[in-house]
C-alpha cells in the first residue's frame, strides 16, 4: 500500500463515536491542543494529528501511533479546546479501541471492551467459577474458627487457577504488545537496545514524572501513583510469601504483627486510598477529569474491589464468624480472577502499551521535551 493513500474506516469512526469520541467531529485543526500539551514531544506533537486521524477514520495510522499512549489524559487540551471537541476524551477513546483491536484473541477484547453492558458477566463468571470449584472440591465446607484459609481453599486450588490464567495473560500480552511494537516501528528507525531504554522508562513511570507536567488533571497524579504502588506492593507481598512458604517453611497464616503482613496491609491501603481518590476525581467530573466511560470505570472498580475484599478477607477471618468471612474470601478470589483474566483486554493493559510507547519514544529520539 502506498503511503500516500489514506484508508478511511467507517467501522472505526462508528466505534469511536459510540465509545465516547464523537466530539472528534467538531475539531477544526487549530492545534491549540498540541500547543498547550505539556507532554507532547517537540517532534511528535499531539493530539491535533490524532484528532484528524480519528475524524477521518484513519484506523491504520491510529493503530501504529505511539503518541496515543504518550498522552496521560491531563485534559489541558480539553480545557482549552475552542470547539469543545474534547481531545482528552477522544484520545482516551482511541486507547480503548486500541486495546480492543490489539487484543488476542479479539473476541475477548470485544467482550471486555463492551464492559458497559457485559460487566455482570465479566464479574459474575469468576464468582460462579470459584463457588463451583470450591463446592466440587469440599462441598463448600467452611472449617471452624480459628480459620486458616488453606483449610477452606487448599493452595493447590489457588495454583490450579492462577498459574494457567497468568500464563495465558502473559502470552496474550506478549502477542498484543509485540503487535503494537511492530506497528509503531514501521517506517521509523530505532536505535539502542530495548532493555537499555526500558529501564529509564520504568523509572520515569515509577516516579510519575509526566503526570506532574499536567495542569488540568494534576489532582489525578497522587491517586494514580498510590494506586500503582499499591499494585506493586501487593505483587511483592505475594512473591515474598511464596518464598517464605516454600523457601523457609514459614507456617501460614502469618501472625498479624509479621512484617510481611505490614507490607501487604500498607499496599492494600495504598490501593484503596489511591482508588478512592481516582474514583472521587471521576465522580467530581468536569472538563479536567474528562468523561468516564466503562473502559475507565470497569478496571478501576475491579482493582479497587481487589483491595477492598483483600482487607475484608484479612480482617474478617479474625473478626467475623467463619461462614461470613468465607464469602469475603470467595469475593476476593473472584475479583482477583476477574482482574487477572481481563488484564490484556481492559484498561489495565495501558501499563504495557504506554510503557512500550515510552520505550519507542526513547529509541526514536523524540523523547526530548
Amino acid at each position: 500500500m502506498a503511503s500516500n493513500v489514506l484508508i478511511s474506516s467507517t467501522s472505526f469512526r462508528e466505534a469511536l463515536a459510540k465509545k465516547g469520541g464523537v466530539t472528534a467531529a467538531r475539531c477544526y485543526q487549530c492545534a491549540t491542543c498540541s500547543s498547550v500539551c505539556e507532554l507532547a514531544p517537540e517532534g511528535l506533537p499531539f493530539p491535533r494529528r490524532q484528532m484528524i486521524n480519528a475524524q477521518w477514520g484513519l484506523a491504520d495510522k491510529v493503530a501504529a501511533d505511539p503518541a496515543v499512549w504518550l498522552c496521560h489524559q491531563c485534559n489541558d487540551c480539553t480545557v482549552r479546546c475552542p470547539r469543545d471537541a474534547k481531545p482528552g476524551d477522544v484520545m482516551q477513546t482511541i486507547r480503548a479501541l486500541a486495546v480492543e483491536n490489539l487484543s488476542t484473541p479479539k473476541f475477548l477484547g470485544k467482550l471486555v471492551g463492551a464492559a458497559g453492558s457485559t460487566w455482570p458477566l465479566l464479574i459474575g463468571l469468576p464468582f460462579v467459577f470459584w463457588i463451583a470449584f470450591i463446592y466440587a472440591v469440599n462441598g463448600f465446607t467452611v472449617p471452624e474458627a480459628p480459620l486458616a484459609w488453606h483449610d477452606f481453599v487448599p493452595h493447590w486450588m489457588i495454583y490450579a487457577v492462577y498459574i494457567p490464567v497468568t500464563l495465558w495473560v502473559v502470552i496474550a500480552i506478549l502477542v498484543s504488545g509485540s503487535r503494537y511494537w511492530n506497528l509503531m516501528g514501521q517506517g521509523v528507525t530505532r536505535s539502542g537496545s530495548f532493555v537499555g531504554n526500558l529501564i529509564p522508562a520504568i523509572k520515569e513511570i515509577l516516579a510519575h514524572k509526566r503526570f506532574s507536567d499536567c495542569e488540568a488533571a494534576r489532582p489525578r497524579k497522587t491517586g494514580h501513583l498510590l494506586f500503582l504502588w499499591g499494585f506493586i506492593g501487593a505483587a511483592i507481598t505475594t512473591a515474598l510469601i511464596i518464598v517464605a512458604m516454600y523457601g523457609f517453611k514459614t507456617p501460614l497464616p502469618l501472625p498479624q504483627t509479621h512484617w510481611m503482613k505490614w507490607i501487604g496491609n500498607f499496599s492494600a491501603l495504598l490501593l484503596l486510598f489511591g482508588g478512592l481518590m481516582l474514583l472521587a476525581n471521576r465522580m467530581k467530573g468536569g472538563q479536567s477529569a474528562g468523561a468516564s466511560t466503562a473502559f475507565d470505570t470497569f478496571f478501576l472498580f475491579v482493582a479497587f474491589m481487589v483491595g477492598l475484599t483483600g482487607i475484608l478477607t484479612e480482617g474478617g477471618r479474625l473478626a467475623f464468624p467463619p461462614q461470613i468471612a468465607a464469602w469475603m474470601y470467595v469475593a476476593h478470589l473472584s475479583f482477583i480472577l476477574c482482574l487477572f483474566a481481563t488484564f490484556p483486554y481492559c484498561k489495565f493493559a495501558h501499563m504495557v502499551y504506554r510503557t512500550l510507547a515510552m520505550v519507542h519514544e526513547r529509541m526514536t529520539g523524540v523523547a526530548s521535551r
Partner: protein, 417 residues
C-alpha cells in the same frame, strides 16, 4: 414636510452604518433622527488608521458623509444621547432619549483655548485609553460636530479654568441633562460593536504582558493622530519592535470566548503587517493563523502580504504566550504544516481580537430578537431593522451595503399598516 412616513425614522448609532442608513432613508424623503451616545459621529471606523483592501483612510469616506449630513435638513443628529426607553405601539415606536448635559454648546468654535488651560487629565477614549487627554477637548481630529466635549466627572472641585478661557461663552458647567420622547415609525439599530476585552485572554498574556496588544491598539498606534503619533512602539519601553507576531482568532471561533468568526481580523492583521513592514523595514512579521479568511477581492491583500519579504504566515494557533527574556515574549504553538511544536520569541504580539455586539449588555432597552451571539434580527412586523455589526460581524464595505438595505427596509417597515 414629510411625504414618505408619518413619523420620522429613528436610527440608533452613528457609526458608518447608522450614518449611511440615516442618509439613505432621508434621501428617500423621510425625516430621520440619528442618535449617537458619543460626542461625535463615526464610531469605530474613525478609530481605524486605514481600511482594507485599498488601505485608504476612513476619514475620507466619513467626510463625504458629513457633507451629505450637513446638506440634508431631514436628518436631525443628536450626539451624547442614549435611548433609555422604547415602547412599541400600533403605529410605530415611542422612544425616550436622554441627552447628556451640553457643557459645551454650539457657540464653540473649536479654538482650543479651554483645553490649553484644563488641569484635569483623563484616558483618551478615542485612543482606547492608550494616552491621556484633557477633560475638555475636541473628541478627535476628525470629529463632527466639531464642538468640544467635557468629561465633567474629571473636573477638579470649583475649577472654572475653561469657562474663563472661553471667549465665546460656549461653556456652561451647570448645564443639565435633557430628556425627550420621540415617535418613530420604524427604528434602525446600528449600535455596532466593541473589541473583545484583551484582559479575558490571560492564556495569551492579554492585560498582563505589556507588549501584548490588540489589533485595535495597533490601529491607533499607526494613526498619525494616535497616542504615539503614528509610530509603532513597544509599550514596555517605547522602542520600535524587531519581531512582531500576529495571533489570529485570539478569543474568536472559541467556545471559551467568542464562538463566532468576526470576519475582519484576518484582513486587519494582513493590513497591519503592511503597516509594520512599511514603517519598520527591518522588522520581521509572522502571522499565526488557523485559516486565512480573505474572501473576494480581499484575497489580493493576502497574496500581496504572502509575497512580501520579512512576512511569514504560519498555520497554527498560538496556545500560550509567556514572558520571555527581558521584555520579550515567548510563544508556543504547533506549526501544523511542519508537524512540530514551535517555541519562538517576539518582542511585540498583536492579538487579532474579535468584535462583540454592543447589544450584549442590554444598553439598548428595546425588545429585540437576538441570536445566540447577541447579534440582532430584523422584524418588519415590529418595525425594527438591524444593520451593520449589530446584525452580524462584517467589514466596513459590507456595513455600508447593509446600511442601504436597512434604509430601504426601514421605509418599508414604516409604511406598513
Amino acid at each position: 414636510m414629510n411625504t414618505m412616513t408619518k413619523q420620522p425614522i429613528l436610527v440608533v448609532g452613528a457609526g458608518i452604518t447608522g450614518v449611511s442608513a440615516a442618509l439613505e432613508a432621508a434621501e428617500t424623503g423621510c425625516d430621520v433622527i440619528l442618535v449617537e451616545r458619543e460626542p461625535a459621529i463615526g464610531g469605530r471606523v474613525l478609530r481605524n488608521h486605514n481600511y482594507f483592501p485599498k488601505l485608504c483612510p476612513p476619514a475620507c469616506g466619513m467626510e463625504i458623509n458629513t457633507r451629505r449630513l450637513e446638506r440634508n435638513s431631514r436628518v436631525r443628529v443628536l450626539t451624547n444621547t442614549r435611548v433609555t426607553e422604547a415602547n412599541a405601539g400600533a403605529d410605530g415606536w415611542s422612544v425616550k432619549l436622554a441627552s447628556a448635559p451640553a457643557y459645551v454648546n454650539d457657540r464653540c468654535t473649536g479654538c482650543g483655548e479651554c483645553a490649553k488651560v484644563c488641569p484635569a487629565k483623563v484616558p483618551d477614549p478615542h485612543n482606547l485609553g492608550m494616552n491621556e487627554t484633557t477633560a475638555i477637548r475636541s473628541p478627535h481630529v476628525d470629529a463632527w460636530p466639531t464642538t468640544y466635549t467635557l468629561d465633567r466627572s474629571a473636573c477638579p472641585a470649583d475649577c472654572k479654568a475653561c469657562v474663563e478661557a472661553c471667549k465665546y461663552e460656549a461653556i456652561d458647567l451647570n448645564a443639565s441633562a435633557k430628556d425627550e420622547t420621540v415617535s418613530a415609525s420604524s427604528v434602525v439599530v446600528a449600535t455596532g460593536w466593541h473589541p473583545y476585552p484583551l484582559e479575558k485572554l490571560t492564556e495569551l498574556g492579554g492585560g498582563e504582558l505589556k507588549n501584548v496588544i490588540a489589533n485595535v491598539n495597533m490601529e491607533r498606534m499607526v494613526a498619525p493622530t494616535g497616542p504615539t503619533e503614528g509610530k509603532i512602539l513597544k509599550p514596555s519601553n517605547g522602542e520600535p519592535p524587531k519581531k512582531v507576531a500576529f495571533v489570529q482568532c485570539a478569543g474568536s471561533r472559541d467556545v471559551n470566548h467568542l464562538p463566532y468568526c468576526s470576519a475582519v481580523c484576518c484582513l486587519a492583521s494582513l493590513k497591519q503587517a503592511i503597516y509594520v513592514r512599511e514603517q519598520l523595514p527591518e522588522a520581521e512579521v509572522t502571522i499565526y493563523y488557523i485559516d486565512r479568511r480573505a474572501p473576494g477581492r480581499n484575497e489580493d491583500v493576502l497574496t500581496r502580504v504572502a509575497e512580501m519579504d520579512g512576512v511569514k504566515l504560519v498555520k497554527g494557533k498560538v496556545g500560550k504566550i509567556e514572558q520571555g527574556q527581558g521584555d520579550g515574549l515567548k510563544l508556543r504553538l504547533e506549526d501544523v504544516e511542519a508537524g512540530q511544536i514551535v517555541e519562538t520569541e517576539a518582542d511585540m504580539v498583536v492579538l487579532a481580537t474579535g468584535m462583540v455586539s454592543n447589544l450584549v449588555n442590554g444598553d439598548l432597552p428595546m425588545n429585540l430578537t437576538k441570536d445566540e451571539d447577541n447579534f440582532g434580527l430584523d422584524s418588519l412586523e415590529q418595525k425594527v431593522i438591524v444593520a451593520g455589526v449589530a446584525r452580524r460581524p462584517e467589514d466596513v464595505a459590507a456595513c455600508v451595503r447593509d446600511a442601504t438595505g436597512a434604509a430601504a427596509k426601514s421605509v418599508i417597515a414604516a409604511r406598513r399598516a
